[in-house]
């Protein structure tokens, strides 16, 4: 361990001496201070704050990612090119310790730079949202919806699997049912149809959702219900309805009249104690658009959510920065290993390719879900090519899908909780599993590399 730390310390000192750190700090500060002056929000204070958080930290991470990849690639390849590595490998350290030492130095450097950037963004944020600049409504909105960590709770989804199976079987019995559709696809379609029906609200009817609240929810804090629906008739865009918050057994049950536009997201603030004794929350909506009756539909995936207070903004920011640091650590591993195997330009392109590949994970998943590439209904294609492509994309999906992870800045920016479990899962996947695998591959190949070749 001491040897690893010694290598890390030497690398850090070299980096600091080369003024890279200073340059990076200057660039990051320029971005943090300059970017908010040049970006446009939707002209609301909440929009400005969200943009400030997401864009400034986003650009900081982009810069650090590029710098990390470059520095990682250069860490060992540069020493090999300049023959400095000969001095190091002649010391009583293993090559794996060299790799780890370089990686630790990059992680430490990123941690310091992220810490400085995070503090600067936080300071700027607090300066821009100082109470003297805002009215009470804006302060309340920021405190309750943006500069906070709220847990998003989705409603209980009825278990419709059994019903979906039965419906699919009924469909498949029909003589005109297309034979090429499998039962699994039919069940999935039936499931969606049943859910759509369950989340539809015809005129005069009521829909009720139940939300399981996590333990530890502070009931003295106001919470928000965010909802969105579609109108059954395009020409009717504003719908009247009555919201009832809380079940019949709840003394603080509240009724709120709504007149909302279809397709838009709307938020309702609830202050009352409307939670049931069993820790659930019941919310009902009655379609009262009597003058122009129309059925409305709440999408099951994002039609309605409850946001409850789960903590302060500061700790959420820390968790977000930790996730970003873990991501940078993963990039450092890629960079260092690539640099130990190839010359700087080749290593940089290889590392860049891997990073770009990670950005394409959603598309790889789409391709992997395809059942055929070269033949379609009524078409003849090469079965061999089909099998090859299917195996290729499924293999790719198997390899890279676990690395798919939403951007924590998107959650931080809208005041959504970034839980510790998220930090832990990123640590396990990106650092322990993938970082470890990359390190082992690097170790294996770096040991085989001939470092004393004449140029």
């Amino acid at each position: 361990m001491n040897k690893i730390l010694a290598i890390a310390s030497i690398s850090l000192r070299t980096t600091v001496r080369s003024k890279i750190v200073l340059s990076l700090i200057v660039i990051l500060m320029m971005v943090i201070i300059g970017l908010p002056l040049s970006i446009k929000s939707d002209a609301t204070i909440s929009g400005e704050v969200q943009i400030l958080v997401i864009y400034t930290l986003g650009i900081v991470i982009a810069i650090l990612s590029i710098a990390t990849l470059w520095a990682g690639c250069a860490a060992i390849s540069g020493e090999i090119a300049e023959r400095q590595i000969h001095m190091v490998v002649s010391k009583p350290v293993t090559r794996f310790q060299i790799l780890l030492g370089k990686w630790v130095s990059l992680v430490a450097l990123n941690a310091a730079l992220l810490c400085v950037s995070g503090l600067a963004v936080y300071g700027l944020l607090r300066w821009n949202t100082r109470p003297s600049q805002l009215n009470s409504e804006e302060i309340q909105q920021l405190d309750e919806e943006i500069l906070v960590a709220r847990r998003q709770i989705r409603p209980q989804i009825p278990d419709v699997d059994l019903e979906a199976g039965k419906t699919a079987d009924e469909w498949m019995k029909a003589p005109d049912f297309p034979r090429e559709i499998s039962r699994a696809d039919a069940v999935e379609e039936a499931r969606k149809t049943i859910l759509r029906s369950a989340f539809s609200v015809p005129p005069g009817t009521t829909i009720t959702w139940k939300f399981d609240l996590p333990s530890g929810v502070r009931k003295d804090q106001p919470f928000h219900i965010r909802y969105k629906f579609a109108s059954g008739r395009m020409e009717i865009t504003t719908i009247r309805g009555t919201w009832t918050i809380g079940g019949p057994d709840v003394p603080g049950r509240a009724t709120i009249e709504g007149n909302d536009t279809a397709e838009g997201f709307h938020t309702m603030r609830v202050q009352d104690d409307v939670f049931s004794a069993d820790g659930t929350l019941e919310v009902s909506y009655k379609n009262t658009n009597d003058q122009r009756p129309v059925t409305i539909f709440f999408p099951p995936q994002d039609g309605i959510s409850v946001f409850v207070y789960s903590g302060g903004f500061e700790i959420n920011l820390v968790r977000t920065l930790l996730i970003l640091l873990l991501h940078l650590s993963f990039l450092s591993a890629i960079g260092v290993v690539a640099g130990s195997l190839f010359s700087l330009p080749t290593a940089a392109f290889t590392a860049l390719y891997l990073v770009v590949l990670l950005k394409f994970i959603p598309y790889i998943e789409i391709m992997a879900a395809r059942k055929s590439f070269v033949s379609g209904p009524g078409q003849q294609g090469s079965a061999f090519l089909d099998i090859f492509l299917i195996l290729f994309y499924r293999g790719m999906q198997f390899l890279v899908s676990p690395l798919k992870s939403p951007n924590p800045l998107d959650s931080l920016g809208i005041g959504e909780l970034v839980p510790w479990s998220w930090v832990a899962s990123v640590f396990v996947v990106k650092v322990v599993v993938y970082g470890g695998a990359i390190a082992l591959i690097g170790r294996l190949l770096f040991y085989r590399r001939e470092l004393g070749l004449p140029s």
């Binding site: 929000s41 943009i51 909302d260």
Partner: protein, 528 residues
């Protein structure tokens, strides 16, 4: 020495090539202006970073735009609208000379995103984002792209001017308030505004304004801003200066003209041209602005876009005739009202269309317009013009109604169905006209009061003439006209709380000799 000569020769050659390319560039730019669709001239005032990005990124700009577009779509689907302005800004700046991108994103913000909000203020903010994107930037980078003028006009014509959006009144009122702060009445006083400098440098150099500017500087106002010298925001000292100094109107008008030019991109000279051609237009209303942008676009348009802009002009004229005048109620609420002053322009536009397309649908449209114009002129007590319109209807589209004469035409002007009304209904309709008239009077529009009462009178008399028997009137419960007036007046007076409106009605009561409510026996009131 040889090396020095070689280097010198290379530098010389480089200089010759650079100078040569500079000369060729001028010709190429001219050709580009002439030959590019929509006469897209090179932009001279492009911000450095936009110019840099468009050149430096080359073809990769498209890829970046694609990535941003995907994010924008996802953000919109997730209801995270706050990023859309910035993302749209980046996309348009990456492809600044691609009019369709400007058109799409401004449309998305002004039309699609705005309607996702409940609050009218929020909607208006998004409509403005879309409008500004075109007006303040899209047209700067693409001054020769007619579809952008059309898209901007479309926002004024339909998003703000029509009633497609639930918040259209809010848009109209907000716009009328913004414009109302920049000129008095319907339009700027062109003579005064055109004489006033339209730049800050021009104003500072104007000998007539210099002494006042100096005095304002002594009070601490060194940066001349309209808000700083207007009465609500100004200090007492400034307010005093601005009310006493003979140069104050010039200063005020110059600053207003500058704001029209810099913020709203309205050139007073061009406004005057549009007004001369189609006016007098009420520039507080959206239709006038749709007309303005359509006229600017026509200079660059050909083919289908030219036709679309022509249609925009005629539709806006018809709309401005119907609701193109801003009438402010006593509580400051905007009531869009007909702009009868542009009747001849609209008529001329219809007649020109009839000359081009002499078919039944155009004739039907023109007949409908004449009937509408007749009703409006009667409603506003403009009987002289109404007589002219009646004459034209009688000549072009004769019918039983026109044969029965002017008065009958007035009485039946709101529909043929009146013959089938019973006495109770006739009474209700006549009373409605009278109440409407008194309401307009209370709001300060005497013309409409007279028009409405004239309509009520004509309608009532026509019915009495049609069923000329005392027994019928008694049977159907149709009282004397003055009793209807009395009842309608007091019903309205009881409801009106606004002091100015009450004062006006009480004065009218004296002028018209409408009796007080008290002396009339309750039994009589019940009877009527």
């Amino acid at each position: 020495m040889k090396s020095f000569l070689q280097n010198a020769l290379l530098v010389l050659l480089a200089a010759v090539f650079i100078a040569g390319s500079g000369r060729v560039q001028q010709g190429l730019l001219l050709q580009r202006t002439e030959l590019t669709q929509g006469n897209i001239a090179p932009v001279e005032n492009m911000p450095p970073w936009v110019a840099f990005v468009t050149v430096a990124l080359g073809g990769f700009r498209g890829l970046i735009v694609d990535a941003l577009w995907l994010r924008a779509t996802r953000m919109q689907e997730e209801g995270r609208y706050f990023e859309l302005v910035q993302l749209s800004d980046w996309m348009t700046k990456l492809e600044p000379r691609f009019p369709q991108i400007w058109e799409f994103h401004s449309w998305n913000l002004a039309w699609n995103v705005s309607v996702l909000f409940n609050e009218h203020e929020d909607r208006w903010r998004w409509v403005q984002h879309g409008m500004r994107m075109l007006r303040d930037e899209g047209l700067v980078y693409n001054p020769g792209a007619p579809q952008l003028y059309w898209a901007l006009g479309w926002i004024f014509q339909f998003k703000m001017g029509a009633n497609l959006d639930d918040a259209h009144y809010f848009y109209k009122e907000s716009w009328a308030r913004e414009m109302g702060a920049l000129f008095d009445g319907m339009a700027p006083d062109y003579e005064q505004y055109l004489e006033a400098p339209d730049t800050m440098d021009g104003l500072r150099e104007d000998p007539a304004a210099q002494p006042l500017i100096k005095r304002l500087a002594e009070t601490g106002i060194t940066i001349l801003e309209l808000d700083a010298i207007t009465s609500s925001n100004a200090t007492d000292q400034v307010r005093e200066l601005m009310s006493d100094d003979p140069a104050a109107p010039l200063l005020r008008i110059s600053l207003k003209r500058q704001r029209l030019k810099e913020v709203y991109k309205l050139d007073v000279e061009k406004m005057k041209d549009v007004d001369d051609a189609y006016g007098p237009l009420d520039w507080r209303m959206a239709d006038a602005h749709a007309l303005y942008w359509a006229e600017q676009g026509k200079q660059h348009a050909e083919g289908f876009t030219a036709l679309s802009l022509d249609r925009m002009t005629s539709q806006c004229l018809a709309s401005a005739f119907r609701v193109g005048s801003a009438f402010f109620d006593i509580d400051g609420q905007l009531i869009p009202s007909p702009n009868l002053a542009i009747y001849q322009h609209v008529r001329k536009a219809y007649l020109e269309a009839l000359e081009k397309h002499d078919n039944e649908s155009f004739h039907t449209a023109y007949e409908n317009f004449l009937n509408l114009a007749f009703n409006y002129h009667i409603g506003f007590n403009r009987t002289e013009v109404a007589h002219e319109i009646f004459k034209e209807i009688k000549e072009r589209y004769p019918s039983d109604r026109t044969d029965s004469g002017f008065n009958h035409f007035v009485a039946t002007s709101f529909g043929e169905a009146q013959r089938e009304l019973n006495g109770q209904e006739v009474r209700a309709v006549a009373e409605g006209f009278i109440i409407q008239g008194f309401t307009w009077y209370a709001r300060g529009d005497e013309d409409r009061y007279r028009g409405a009462v004239a309509q009520a009178t004509a309608f009532y008399r026509d019915h009495r003439k049609e069923f000329n028997s005392q027994s019928h009137w008694e049977r159907v419960g149709l009282p004397e006209f003055n009793r209807l007036v009395f009842k309608a007046f007091h019903e309205l007076l009881d409801r009106v709380e606004h002091p100015v409106a009450r004062q006006r009605l009480e004065q009218l009561q004296i002028d018209e000799g409408i009796p007080d409510k008290a002396p009339v026996p309750e039994s009589l009131l019940e009877e009527i």
